[in-house]
Symmetry: C2
Subunit: 157 residues, 2 copies
Amino acid sequence: MEIKKAMALAIEEAKKTMNDDIGGPFGAAILSPEGKIVAVASNAVLDSHDPTAHAEINVIRKATKLIQNHDLSGYTLITTAYPCPMCLGAIMWANIKEVYYGCNLEDAASIGFRDDLMYQIIHDIDQHKDILSLKSSERDTCIKLFEEYHEKNKTMY
Amino acid sequence: MEIKKAMALAIEEAKKTMNDDIGGPFGAAILSPEGKIVAVASNAVLDSHDPTAHAEINVIRKATKLIQNHDLSGYTLITTAYPCPMCLGAIMWANIKEVYYGCNLEDAASIGFRDDLMYQIIHDIDQHKDILSLKSSERDTCIKLFEEYHEKNKTMY
């Protein structure tokens, strides 16, 4: 029941911001472990000029700010569409284990959003160097930063 | 030359915030198509309680805010470590095609960051339902939102 209610709120928020040209047709909500709606958000990429301002990212930011903790273990995320790789990563970093989504990747593709292609690229990144090229550089210098972190943590714990 | 300089700035920023317990040992920078450094940022997950506040996400937010455009086509991202799936997604949404990274996924794993595992999960999500379960729900209602978007766009263009 709470999933249905949370989805309705996510859709309502998405419609509002879509019609105000704030962002695309995407909304999301987060339920607490007790099943209460703690945050609702929508896509705000156009208005904020922030390509990371997807509904799922925005709702995670809202909920974690509210509870002052980056860990959303036990919380549930509801989203109007299957999360893109960026949002799926954010969901995992937030330790959310349960997601309910409305539209699927094919539905999104049918209105011009190619999240499905993005998954294909990430699955086989070496075959898509024309789209995204990742090159190693300055590894030796960066390793020192990791070593400093390692030393710091040894001192702390 | 600019890559080396950008990496040095990214490392410097990461060291500072790491030592102030603002976030993990990760920094990033963005170069304009002309090769100028437009933004430098670091991981701020601990201080902001925002699990999405990785160095790459933060630097993309900074740069897009600065140029007031979500499209960073032609820009280059420099990061002290290979991007996690969330950040790789953000890089693609920003239309960045060129990335230089310092440490690799194995280096990150050696200090306790399991970005490599996250890639494995995304590659075969159906096999990892114990870690992240995605369930379809209310698709019919969400489809209407997509149809409304489609109609809106037909009116606009």
